[in-house]
Symmetry: C2
Subunit: 470 residues, 2 copies
């Protein structure tokens, strides 16, 4: 006998096997990749089709029950965390690859389809899906759309929004609509506004994405530096030389220490201050020249050692080392908080120095591992949640880092979204009027704020406080 009539109503809609509601079953849904705040949902349901999503949403809408769409739960800003007993629609059972059309370079997937599986599905034909978040082995394309996910190779190829051609979605009232689909569509760019809207405007139930042909050639360089500043300048110099690498990643001393203690060490020298991981792809014939130029730039910036990956195996090991940097932090710190600021590339040395100062003043170590080429920083704030007050301190340090980014004309998120983590920091980059304009748009799609409520925007009047506080 289920006492919650809403839960009973959901079970009637989807069946007992497609719903979780016992407290012990809800534990796994208390948070996503942002672990600072936890709260159980009212229930979790697992629809298997667009029509089922629509039915569930209609039911919740009519009963005025708030709800949250959720993919793999790898999000880092808490966008899928319940705040007050929302029902979670988990889309992991909608994980089909519906259609691949190589001639027109597109694929249609359900939202629960895992990012890396798409590349794996078309790799044998020589194609791939470009956006590659570090969590790509687990995260879903629906989640990527919600967060407008990036990845190491987004410097050259753009983020998720640049690879979405169309989508089917269920609106907050349960209505099903199609947007995009053709190469160019007239009217307002609703695909742009939906992508990165963090589940506040609709639930994406089918996504048409761009598939790219594998580049003919690819080479990867690893460069070691004795000074962070030299590495930063090398980044600017490479771009200034007119090269657009496929990826241009940087790790600092603490990050290197972590990845070497993690599951995929590659033997970086001990005590190294900074490294760059640079990949160039494209027409095979041009690549060696670019690699030579990159090596020249690094030498000019006092690189201590620079090597080119000898084969695919070596390249893959370097990438595994880099891409597991976040989980590898676990090897050197009980807890960590990932930040996600963006800055104009030319301000890199100055901002890294300010982050070093914040670390020193707060007493918390900060590791830097990031997409240097597009100025997307990922400071990892290391802390121990068991020590009283340290979680709060880590959150405060994260906010201070974002303020530095905003102050140099940057942004508070490159690819992880705002969620609940950075709601107040929205005030660093938007005026009250600008936030009001965005809320008006939310109200069009999500008039009674049942769909992922109270995320993404600061609480009313919070901006004035934030501005005074800093």
């Amino acid at each position: 006998m289920i006492r919650d009539v809403i839960v009973q109503g959901l079970i009637d809609l989807v069946g007992r096997d497609a719903a979780l509601y016992r407290p012990e079953d809800l534990l796994a849904y208390e948070c996503d990749g942002y672990t600072v705040h936890k709260r159980a949902p009212r229930a979790v349901v697992f629809p298997t089709s667009t029509e089922e999503v629509s039915k569930i949403v209609k039911y919740l809408y009519e009963n005025e029950v708030p709800f949250i769409p959720r993919g793999a739960g790898t999000g880092l800003s808490g966008g899928a965390i319940p705040l007050s007993g929302e029902v979670i629609l988990s889309l992991v059972k909608m994980r089909k690859l519906i259609h691949v059309d190589l001639q027109n370079r597109l694929a249609v997937v359900q939202p629960g389809f895992v990012n890396l599986k798409l590349t794996n599905s078309v790799a044998s034909k020589g194609y791939y899906y470009a956006p590659d978040p570090s969590s790509q082995y687990a995260c879903t394309i629906g989640g990527n759309v919600a967060e407008n996910a990036g990845g190491a190779h987004c410097l050259k190829y753009g983020v998720t929004t640049n690879h979405i051609l169309g989508m089917q979605l269920v609106l907050a009232n349960g209505e099903i609509v199609e947007i995009g689909g053709a190469p160019d569509m007239p009217g307002y760019d609703l695909m742009g506004i939906l992508t990165g809207s963090e589940g506040t405007l609709g639930i994406v139930t089918e996504i048409t994405v761009r598939i790219l042909k594998n580049p003919e050639g690819k080479k990867t360089v690893l460069a070691y530096f004795d000074q962070v500043e030299d590495a930063s300048h090398a980044v600017s110099d490479i771009i200034a030389a007119g090269i657009v690498p496929a990826a241009l990643e940087m790790m600092d001393k603490t990050a290197i220490e972590a990845v070497e203690a993690g599951n995929f060490p590659v033997g970086h020298p001990k005590g190294l201050e900074a490294l760059l991981l640079i990949e160039v792809d494209g027409i095979a014939a041009g690549i060696d020249d670019q690699i030579d130029e990159i090596i020249e730039v690094c030498k000019h910036r006092k690189v201590t050692q620079v090597k080119v990956a000898e084969n695919d195996r070596e390249r893959a090991s370097w990438w595994a080392n880099r891409k597991t940097a976040f989980p590898a932090m676990g090897a050197i710190s009980p807890d960590y908080l990932v930040q996600d600021g963006v800055i104009p590339r030319s301000r890199l040395p100055e901002v890294l120095e300010k982050i070093r100062q914040i670390s020193e003043e707060s007493g918390l170590r900060i590791a830097n591992v990031f997409h240097a080429g597009d100025g997307n920083l990922h400071p990892l704030i290391l802390y121990d949640a068991r020590k009283p007050g340290e979680t709060e301190l880590a959150v405060k340090v994260g906010s201070a880092v974002l303020k530095v980014c905003a102050d140099v004309g940057g942004s508070i998120t490159g690819e992880h979204g705002v969620g609940i983590e950075k709601q107040n920091e929205m005030c660093f980059v938007f005026t009250e009027e600008e936030l009001e304009a965005q809320l008006c748009i939310r109200d069009v799609f999500n008039p009674n704020n049942l769909l992922n409520p109270d995320k993404l925007f600061p609480k009313p009047s919070r901006c004035a406080e934030m501005r005074v506080a800093r």
Copy 2:
């Protein structure tokens, strides 16, 4: 003594030299590049700053007078044409290049700054602005933002929306807001929705655009074919080979006849059925291989002649020939109507055949000159406005062509916008619900429909008629 109090009010705001109101002065503002419909505005004002735009808009908003922003007036879908005595805000006096930041690869311009001038301003340093509509010598970047303008080189580099980093705009009530600006911004993608909104959501008064480094190398191929179908297949084959040319343009027999009779003939052979103009750019070392591959593909598709531009002068002459194709139609027909449909590239041969049939049935010649690589067709419908009924027939033929594009999963506009020309054809690609959703968004920004009123969307209930009629 001016009898119209609104005109007097505007003169009080901007001064007598910055306003036109005499019937003879308004003639030039009766239409833009879409000449099928003409109507004089109530007045034209020429603001010189964001603050002045704001003042004018506030005044018009308070007096409930409708108004239209206008750039160079080169738009092809009638977006700047008055429908019922609107006041035009001409932005041609806001034509400053405000700021260039080569290190961060951006420039800030006023909306009336001419597209080509931007490239000219940074060319000596080795940079350029990528979107290159054929009207780039005259059209403004503000107008490019309104229409989300494309161009021949958008196959590789994307359209205007991919090159806009931020904007300042005046809302319908006169409020000034800033959007974008940083490399990535959280919240909803308002820049995407503003770009291509055809002057219905706000008046852009400052634009931050991306500047690109000139490619190291560039080569251009001209290929002649005896059959349109062979040329179409060559287009698909080039893309299928994994080459993304910077530009991949096609002209058919009638188009070639026109450009050879225009101001920039290059001596194409007489009676030619189709030609491709293909440009490859990037790292110098890889280009020759790509050119060889393109030539191989063309040979496989029975190319009758293929040549590589020997120098920049020859390349420039080929582009001048192609880019003046629209005005060159004047040499072979008293009037012409440009259409702007988009189709999946793989449907090219089939759609061109259907357009040929429409031409035959209607008795109107149709020239095809278009961005073949991205499936963006520009059928030019040739007619004589002096013959009774022929303008109406040309409009009808244009609509029939768009229906063909929509029916193969394409779109009714690639880069020219909807304006007043394709309002009803919106019903080919959107349901009533989808149009309603877009109108809700318009109402957020433009609540009383004073800003470029009655454009872009079909008149209510028109969709049902359109669907029955075809």
